[in-house]
Subunit: 184 residues, 2 copies
DNA sequence: TGTCTCATGTAATCCGTTACATGATTGG
DNA sequence: CCAATCATGTAACGGATTACATGAGACA
């Protein structure tokens, strides 16, 4: 999947769950896919326009919604659903990794033990917060209605986040202990 | 840390361990930082030039090495070491996440249970391979000499990779089981 | 002799974010 | 009535990858 198509997949995917405005797509991606995906306005609107051009989505002007020109609701078409399946079937394009925390720790000798400890504490707090947020989402998702067909898949990605967060916490604790030993 | 500076930090960091050519920096980043960082040629050479301009690194022409113009060895200067510490001290710039696997699974309903199972199996194999690679690196690092001051920090990042890989394996197994239940 | 690896750089291009422009509606 | 939120788009910028150009030494 060429990089560009991934945005297309994310936008079409959002529309596959329910019709919505461009603004709502951005919010959905930020709030629901946030822990593993991101898109900006600058990508979403042009992508929507192209999807409509290609017949993968349809635009319905909402009678005098808000906004300058009124809002438009976008829906996925049958062709769009097929296209989405195609996009999702393409081989996964691994994004080149860039983990700022690990970069800092790798060169931690230049930074000093104390600064590294701060970074680890910070990372632990972050992971812990994420874990809490996931628990809230899990609770919410359990009671949400009308998403029975999607829920099992959504739980898979939620579980991935939880596993990753727990691993990060365990790693941070272990690493903090290792730093303590180093100081002495 | 503005995005640009991260490349500077990675390159300077490499030079902080040992003087080397631009080509060697790329190899080091790919082989050693590979599991959490990446840089391309197009970034490394201009960055090196700027580092020399700014007095953070010095260029020593190697007497008729290989390559068109002969090779140059770059070394970090005292000012460069201070600059590196500064760069590493800047707040971590979180890279926006883009996990193609989770995107596919989230919209897994469109893709079908079988395709999702394939993706998970593939992910498990990948994580397992990484774990093996980490074990090899760990063994190698234990015997490597002259890196005593850096080793503890390097082990931290290695451990992060191991934790993440083990979490990915556990998650994949759990998810595969969940998919089996779904089918029935 | 020919291919592989080492080596340095530049140019084209792509992808994605940020900032800007614009304005209506809702709620306090 | 004023601020926040909803809403749609475009343009400029910047960062990163890829492809290209170029060539010497090693080794088979």
């Amino acid at each position: 999947m060429a990089r560009k198509r991934q945005t297309e997949a994310a936008v079409l995917g959002a529309l596959s769950v329910a019709p919505m405005t461009g603004y709502a797509i951005r919010e959905a991606i930020r709030d629901v896919l946030g822990h593993f995906w991101s898109e900006s306005f600058g990508q979403i609107y042009p992508t929507l326009a192209r999807l409509v051009d290609d017949g993968h989505a349809s635009k319905t002007a909402t009678a005098a919604g808000r906004g300058r020109t009124g809002s438009s609701t976008f829906s996925i078409t049958a062709a769009g659903r097929a296209h989405l399946k195609e996009l999702l079937s393409e081989p996964i394009q691994a994004s080149r990794p860039r983990d700022g925390l690990l970069l800092r720790l790798f060169f931690g000798r230049q930074l000093g033990v104390d600064a590294c400890r701060d970074l680890l504490v910070q990372a632990r707090v972050g992971a812990s917060d994420r874990l809490e947020a996931f628990a809230a989402i899990r609770a919410e998702m359990a009671t949400e209605e009308g998403i029975d067909d999607d829920r099992p898949y959504w739980l898979l990605t939620l579980s991935a986040g939880e596993h990753a967060a727990r691993a990060a916490i365990a790693w941070a604790d272990e690493s903090l202990a290792a730093l303590e030993v180093m100081k002495s």
